[in-house]
Symmetry: C2
Subunit: 301 residues, 2 copies
């Protein structure tokens, strides 16, 4: 069996907004509970799908505290805490730890582009040393198409070697299966979690640890079916059907800009159009897009 | 004559660090005074060259306050205040205004890529409305090779039309002269300031407003010579020589990663090697690079 420190199905939870553009705390915590009830092992709040980088530090604090206050256990919360400036990544991570939340997803500093592996290693190392808490478990975050800052396999290996008890996994959101296999091969026991839902099944077969995905906002139960039954050959048809359903939702979510579309689909799932709202620079779907999305949604398996 | 609201030679000031990696306030304010004394009309602190996105909000506050406390007049300071989250861009800008600093350089939210002009317009509009201070003058910041978020000419035009007294200029750091001309043509009276020093002379001839450059950390006097004498035909040889000197410094600063190299060159200019330090993810030049840079520096005009 795997010796991964972090395995399972985690949701890159979307963040609903009020009419004034602030986080809708009630709707958010209701969503977190639904994700857990539908099968997620945990909620990776405040990531890319969660529009975290459009929220202030104070808003990030408030959302994490709200999830805990609403009864989501600390060990089921994996907030994103990586921002552009090391002192603020340190502060956000310390805040999570102060609440008993020990697992975080951490972007590299992402303003400067083309930076060296040495620079990224030093950035992560300084961050972890300044946090200085041996409870911490970090999931690195590789999403170069958004962050503009890829994490290379040599960099990942060096971080795992330097911080073996802390740097325990990676969210691979480039959707590059060869890269996931290369990381798995280079770092035995290190948890590779895919960000692209269609890769969950092949990744688990190849020794990966699970997923942190956007489509989990909609089909956590199907993701869980794949995860729980991947090694049970008698259930291969069920697993394949679940993965096909996941893929159908994912394909529809890519009809328009993904995050507004995922949010609109959560609104269609739950019957609450408040979910259509986004914070700038993201904009909600327009009426024609929403109508076409609703039509497509009604035909999903 | 031009009716630009902002014209001149501004320095994208570098930020020196202590041995502990925190800003060296004394060295920084000394540098600000030197930039003004050497001819800069103002100091555009806390920009890309200033490593602003590697500093926390608290550090940004401290640096701006230090410059004021050291006697740099508020109307000669143009801090960068644009970050990824609108509430924090609002807060940083309000902080500047509270100190009497009314001109700022503002990046768009830069985490999400491929966002629409509608989304970027809404982001800037919400930011300006939340700031709600009619003293404010904003210089937009187009540096797509770093931010990953270009500002299109139609977006700029729409912002200028919606906020004619507030959106008064742009720092064009793509180094695209055709783009600078297109903006100048689309927005009469709007100040186009180049980020690439070699373009100062041609931009001024084409109706541009000036520059905010990195090389000004080293050759502000030459930039000022170009700016002051651009329309005096009797001084064309002097202007050409000054632009050639600027270009030689710029070329050398591009020998290695630009920001660490500029900082190292300020150290060579002032005889203070403390300037070599950078904050991760940027790393200082290594010894061999520094030795070669020093050799090149000694031969500059």
């Amino acid at each position: 069996m795997s010796n991964h420190k972090i395995t399972g199905v985690y949701s890159a939870a979307a963040t609903p907004l009020n009419t004034d553009g602030n986080p809708d705390i009630g709707l958010f915590t209701e969503h977190c509970h639904r994700l857990i009830n539908e099968g997620c092992h945990g909620v990776a709040l405040l990531g890319t799908t969660g529009e975290a980088n459009s929220f202030s530090s104070a808003e990030r604090h408030m959302l994490l505290e709200a999830a805990l206050n609403a009864g989501i256990p600390a060990d089921k919360l994996l907030p994103g805490t990586g921002v552009v400036a090391i002192p603020e990544t340190v502060e956000l991570t310390k805040h999570a730890l102060s609440l008993g939340v020990t697992q975080v997803v951490m972007l590299p500093p992402f303003y400067y582009k083309g930076v060296s592996d040495e620079g990224l290693f030093t950035a992560y190392a300084q961050t972890l040393e300044k946090i200085g808490d041996n409870r911490l478990q970090v999931i690195l975050y590789h999403i170069p198409q958004v962050s503009g800052v890829p994490l290379s396999v040599p960099l990942i290996s060096r971080l795992v070697e330097a911080f073996p008890d802390t740097v325990v996994g990676i969210k691979e959101s480039a959707g590059d299966f060869n890269n996931m296999q290369a990381i798995t091969a280079a770092c035995p026991g290190f948890s590779v979690l895919c960000g692209a839902d269609p890769l969950l099944l092949p990744l688990l077969k190849a020794g990966g640890a699970g997923c942190i995905t956007a489509t989990s906002n909609l089909v956590a139960n199907s993701l869980r079916t794949v995860y729980d039954n991947i090694h049970d050959e008698t259930k291969s048809a069920e697993v394949e059907a679940a993965q096909a359903r996941i893929n159908a939702f994912r394909t529809l979510s890519n009809s328009y800009v993904q995050i507004p579309t995922i949010k609109a689909m959560v609104g269609l799932k739950t019957g609450n159009a408040a979910w259509k709202r986004t914070r700038p620079p993201l904009v909600p779907l327009n009426d024609a897009e929403y109508a076409a999305l609703a039509e497509g949604y009604s035909k999903l398996p």
